[in-house]
Amino acid sequence: MPASVGWVWLIVVLPFAGFVANGLLAFLRPNSKNLVSGIGVGVLVASLLVSIYVISGVTSEEHGISHVVYYWSWMPVGDLQIDLGFLVDRLSAVMMLVVTGVGALIHVFSVGYMKSDPGYARYFSYLNLFVFFMLVLVLGSSFPVMFVGWEGVGLCSYLLIGFWYSEKVNADAGKKAFIMNRIGDFGFLVAMFMIFDAVGSLELREVFLSAPLTFEIGGATVTAITLLLFLGCVGKSAQIPLYTWLPDAMAGPTPVSALIHAATMVTAGVYLVARSNVLFAMAPLSSLVVAMVGAVTALFAATIAMKQWDIKKVLAYSTISQLGYMFMGVGAGAYAAGIFHLVTHAFFKALLFLGAGSVIHVLHHAYHQTHSGDDAQDMRNMGGLRRYMPWTTALMWIATLAIAGIPPLSGFFSKDEILAQTFSRGHDIPLMYLVWALGAVAALLTAFYMTRMMIYTFHGANRTGEHERGHLREAPWIMTGPLVLLGVGSVLGGVLNLPDMLPLSGWLHHWLEPTTISAKRYLIDTHLSAGTQWGLLAAATGIAIVGMVVAFRVLKPTNLTTPAQAPEAKGIQRLLANKYYIDQLYDTLVVRPLVWMSDKLLWRNVDDRAIDGLAVNGWANISRFVGWVGTKFQSGQVSTYVVIFVIGAIFLLRSIGQ
């Protein structure tokens, strides 16, 4: 093992130390903001540097062997031996860099964004804690250790969604996220039990090594395990049907949305599938389910994003849609392509969210100055911001072009890679053509809704208000600085994994090969001819351009009015604006019957009547009745006692006499 890998513990411990320090400061000296930002950002940068050092040990080796560093025995129970250990290989290296790299930039941005928030220290301690758990998740050497991180990021997500907990909406959004994730976690847990039952170990490396010997290809066990694992992914990565928590999660501060609900935590599901690639490759049915769910989610969320007015809601549905793409990729067996899109998405979506954060920050500031109660997140209150925020506008455009898939930006290559891989799978599994088609339509819609967001936010006339206009200005450098770096990533990220026809092609693909090689033998090797590939590239570019042109042609920002005067949406528009009424549907089908059952049946009948009434009070009543009978013998009249005593004595004497 290279010496550098031995330092992996430091990557994880640093953010935890930051959490402890900032947590203490939140109690002891909540106003020492410079110290808090120093610690909060410092530990992340240090963690990033240590990550780079550790990863240098993995790259320098020819075959990219995975290293496991064990620290202590965590759960030694008979056959179940779980050690706390970290797995360092190329897949976790990619994730580490994304988490600490993008995380560090978002921490820097937060310094500006949260500047005047009274909960500054608490915010940074939560953010550090999140990074700690996220690193445990990606580094965990066994499923249970991974699960600790998995639950921990969920906890931090809950804490940060409800960060401004004094408003009930925010607290409710946090609870919703937590509870919906529980459904997925149930699947993850049961999958772990089944893996232990079948393999007898929960160490990642052992499970994947013995999987080919234990399971039969397409067998019921491995299919059930992978489907249950995917249920966990569906919850964590906000896929149909458990996606509704993510749009609500936008109640948290915007940098949180960028870090947790776009770049890192929600991609944990993709990481889990990519990590368990052998299992998924052995279960073709599960892989198909993954790809189908991803494709349907990608399209479904993209349609909703077309009609949202809240700038963060647009990005939230966009995130759900892009996560769908990643699942299409990993479901099609293109694990490297899924991870590639995860990386590029982390860049451009973090950039979009932070840009939106700058806009909200500035608008909020302007409304605050004029004591207006208007919504700082509604795009109908924006417009023409490019004149006031040139840097943010330019950077947001870069990210928009990237996510829409305009070459040569990063999103074009990663999205095209996924679409090409699903298309190539179609030869063996015809349903994959459907997946590809859904993905292609979703790409068209992506280009449309992102352009719509840009037009409404930054172009046309300004709708902010007469008095507020004077307060609009570019966000401070501490906020635009990280945006510039993310913009560079969004532009150049595609170089990581260029298509086959170009020089230096598939670098990330080859680099990740050691971690996905064992899945290879279960997947039929597919190869597209250069002609088809060029065709797909041209089609993808065409789709993106068409989407953007249509948006420019159809949308007329001059017709927009402020939210108060907006006409009521009709027909399909209304359906989209109300998100297909899915929240209402869940409310009617799940929440209300549950509340009704808990209230009327479980509380008033089972608890009040059966348990309290019959069981608890029932026994008390029986005791009291028996006691009441007993008291009737205790008249307090001595003469009565004497009579009984004498009668007893006579009986006693009689029996002695005989």
Partner: protein, 98 residues
């Protein structure tokens, strides 16, 4: 020698004692009836000691000693009771009724 009449007297005295305890209401009378029963038993012991040896007489002394102690305690209780309730009628003293 006179065993039969002595035991008969003892039985009669004891029965009077029992009847007194059962029928009378006055605590002091009941107390005296208890003494009567004790002494009825003493008489039986002494009478039987003529034939069976001196142990019966020894027990009689024990009973007398215990009866003396009992009288002291019992009378003290009755005085305390009277101070508290201002009556010695047993029917009115039923603090422990359920």
């Amino acid at each position: 020698m006179l065993l039969g009449p002595a035991l008969s007297l003892s039985a009669v005295l004891f029965s009077i004692g029992v009847a007194g305890v059962l029928l009378r209401r006055n605590v002091i009378v009941i107390f005296m009836c208890i003494e009567l029963m004790l002494n009825a038993a003493n008489l039986a012991f002494v009478a039987l000691a003529q034939q069976l040896g001196p142990e019966g007489q020894v027990i009689v002394f024990f009973v007398m000693a215990v009866a003396a102690a009992e009288a002291a305690v019992g009378l003290a209780i009755i005085i305390a009771l009277y101070r508290h309730k201002e009556t010695v009628n047993l029917q009115e003293i039923k603090l422990l009724s359920g």
